[in-house]
Amino acid sequence: MTKGNDVNHVITALLENRRGVLARVVDLISGRGFNILSLNVAPTHDNTLSRMTMTIKGDDHVLEQVTKQLNKLVDVVDVSDLSQKRHISAELLLIEVSATPSERAEMAKLAELHDATVVCVHPNSMTIQMAGELDKVEDFLNLLQEGQVYELIRTGVIISPRDGTVNSEQ
């Protein structure tokens, strides 16, 4: 098969909320040589199920194969690759940036312009909390200068279809 271009895929899956299930999913992905760029898992409104969202870079055809194989796992109730469909995405970040007392106001303003909030101020830095769509997050991070970011903690992207109910039209 010809190799396509490697792009980011966001795969979302409903898993049985049981011991070992996440390991099984991660095993399958890493066993095929992929690096998981981000991963987020938590129980859903139904406590017996967990929602997992995962970002993987890879070729379309190979990713389709991975999605099919995930679907075959007995503990995986549903899977879809939503990145190719209309979707809403969100991510939460905590960013510690350098900000001396004289720079504080400017940094706070920049955060505000991006709907981010300052959650903690330290003597020469501040921690900003930001939540939002991927593009917006990237815009903000791009504005920060090299050396300005001391710490970047991200939850990984979560995703939901624009047309409602996840995985409905599989």
Partner: protein
Amino acid sequence: MKTGAECILQGLQDAGVETVFGLPGGAVLDLFAALYRSPIEFLLTRHEQGATHMADGYARATGKTGCCIVTSGPGATNAVTGLATAHMDGIPMVCISGQVPSAMIGNDAFQEADTVGITRAVTKHNCMVRHVDDIPRIIAEAFHIANTGKPGPVLIDIPKDMQSASTDVVVAGDLNIRGYQDTFISDDKQIDALAEAINSSKKPVLYVGGGVIASGATAELTALARKTRIPVTTTLLGLGAFPETDPLTLRMLGMHGSVMANRAVSHCDLLISVGARFDDRVTGRMDMFAQNAKIAHIDIDPCAIGKSVAVDLPVLGDAKDILIKLLDRVEEIDRGPWMTEVAGWQKSFQFEYDKNESELLPQFVIEKIYEVTGGDAIITTEVGQHQMWAAHFFKYTQPRTFISSGGLGTMGYGVPAAIGAQAGCRDKLVVCIAGDGSVQMNIQELVVAVENDLPIKIIILNNGYLGMVRQWQEMFYNKEYSATPLLPGRYARREKVPQSDYLPDFIKIAEAHGAKGIRVGEKDKVAATLEEAFAYNGPVVVEFIVKPEENVYPMVPPGAGLMEMIQSMA
């Protein structure tokens, strides 16, 4: 009230299990205590790998789900190769492993291994029992998962305290596994499209794999081929899915397939794959595979379709169901020119060997096994040259009569698989075709055959080499036979080795295990010896001293296309 151990055995009985293979240990003492009082037949193996291959051979011969029990730690790790073998070939099996008590898990307890973690990649599904109440459900689910969809092995890891605990929940209840799809309703549109492609094809070929046997669809496949007059080639695992005595047969395809099959696949305009997975040993160089053909793929595994080759006509579902529907929609068409072309290949390119050779040739032995049995036997094989010769020179006409490790290529499979097959089919003649290398990997299981009156016949083709590897060294590595001669070092230069100096002495090995051993080196004694061995009422090892450096031909060299076959060294 029942104990967990009793629930396990009840679950096995409810699933129809009659025979279990395995070996006890500390973590399954409770289970074995219950087994002592159970009607289930238990065959004590001498190694857990043997137990898994026996369960596998039993499953392949009978179509039922094989079952084995092993202890924790080393028992479970010994089972890994057998699980992987069954996993690759889609064989239904349930393996129960003991585990250290729940409270000790994670403490590096005595004989603890993370069995669920270790076997994750080599099972269709696995799980650990956390509550004794779950046992009936988990056992029922395991058998359901093992034997539906694309079959495969399931492992259940059961901590010792779960076996001794008591429960009121002694029945499984209704199965509802929400993450598991067991049936695939075939799509009429896909079947119509395929029927139309068949009806308009001028040069079709059927390419058949083990899925047809798993689905029980051999009669339907044969009916389809005969109605449409489409020639049929099979994979190694597909042997027996279509009678190799039928005029439409092209025999096996692939790296060591027939020239006629590989030509037909390379020239066809429609390749209809049924229950096969386009393995690299079958396709050769991918961009040269069936270049002129539309590809149709009937398979129950959504992952198999489109995995290694782009498919024009996918049909997802059970082979039997689809073939029945297809049969009504295809027409009897006269494809004269294609039939003539195919007949030409069939005339020129049967499997061959040098009939004038005075030394005993391995191919000759297999041909004699075919003649003496009249083709009516279950053949198991080890892995190597002898395995390919067993595919070439015996003609398979019935499903579940050729039992071999295809996907994983596991040396050590053939002997225990023969014992398992014989345990499942007591009235059949079961013959294991083995190499002198492979047969040593699980020969300890011969005792199991003797003890349980399982009169298997082990035919060793002793060429004094890890022959298949030696063949690659001869062809691609300068004839430097690194670590492939199996005879004593002083014969490294291969002057004629006296038979009395062959090591190990397979006759003594046979006798030490309580079986009969016969050694033969002359052509004219082969048929009579086989008749004697097959008539003997018990396990026999027949060692044939064959020409050491014989090669398997034809062969598609690695990386080449199916049309680039080497037909002999000359």
